[in-house]
Symmetry: C2
Subunit: 202 residues, 2 copies
């Protein structure tokens, strides 16, 4: 095989992987976490189940890849050079967007709940890293925008884990009782409390 052929095969495999992830997202959107079986995803993307297992050896690893892809696609829209307040407002839009994709939020919540049950769970390392990165990134964004203290009084490294906790915790309440819980309004109230919204509207 020539180098060009190898490059072509790698690109083809990458394309196929992306097609599987898009198909999995569609299946999740339509049928939720439980309905997103490997069989359903394989059928959607026109693969046999062994063919799908070649790319993703288990349902858990496929779902981890779906959640990674969502993070990648969601943040791709955010210019890295923009100011921190803009990125916090983007986060508010993201909460609103999540309210329109219930199956994906359900999948996230169910998988993170499974992952805490043991160090051998295939998603645990992904989530540990994801939260560790998220705390570091939010701390950095908040420090760049507000310096040592946010207007509400917290330091950036106090605010970051709370910001993430509020996002996760509101999703649980909203999934269980969408009529009673308005995720976007509740998250905006939390940003008001941090004092980041006053800053943004200056």
């Amino acid at each position: 095989m020539t180098a060009r052929q190898r490059g072509g095969r790698a690109a083809q495999a990458e394309e196929r992987r992306e097609a599987i992830l898009r198909a999995a997202m569609d299946v999740i959107a339509e049928r939720g976490y439980r309905g997103a079986s490997l069989a359903a995803v394989a059928e959607r993307v026109g693969l046999t189940q062994p063919g799908l297992l070649h790319y993703f050896p288990s349902k858990e690893l496929l779902l981890v890849a779906v959640l990674e892809a969502r993070d990648r696609w969601d943040t791709a829209a955010v210019p890295t050079q923009r100011r921190g307040d803009w990125r916090l407002r983007h986060l508010e839009q993201l909460v609103d967007y999540n309210a329109s994709r219930r199956g994906l939020v359900q999948t996230f919540t169910a998988l993170v709940g499974e992952s805490v049950t043991g160090a051998d769970h295939p998603a645990q390392e992904f989530f540990r890293q994801r939260y560790s990165n998220a705390r570091a990134v939010f701390t950095e964004i908040l420090a760049a925008e507000f310096g040592e203290r946010l207007p509400g009084g917290l330091t950036p490294d106090q605010a970051a884990p709370l910001l993430i906790a509020v996002l996760d915790g509101l999703q649980i309440q909203w999934l269980l009782d969408p009529e009673a819980v308005d995720m976007t309004a509740a998250f905006r109230a939390f940003l008001d409390l941090l004092g980041t919204t006053e800053q943004a509207s200056r």
Copy 2:
């Protein structure tokens, strides 16, 4: 059977139920969510598995009863006549206490994650009710203590769902990375932000 015999049997069944719940808590503390099988709990309490199934027809229903019992026992220590600020500080102590009972927190997080996956999950109705009650109770406590606005600026019914979201979200981060996340300190920072701690130290 006489009325006295029937009463005696009901009391005996109630005692047996409580003994099963205590045994289940011990097993959860030692072995975590996954280790808390019906077989392990039956063995601990000296019942056959069919004997245990007579009281709790499934692992999910046993775990729901364990979480209900925890809520009951945790709040039994709080005099209902005490002021709201005292109850918020009790909540801070409860977060600290939870940091010493990892298996139970893991069980809560795993079961709530499962419960959002479908209306037919045996724990979904329990959690929906639990969150609905918790939002109402916290709103009432905060309104009694602070009136229409908390010192930090939120209304009681804005603060209540956020308070619960922070509790749940911090548990997730702490379960995944106990070295990196100090639940008690983070929760105290959130109470500072709400402004309830200033009030309490007056």
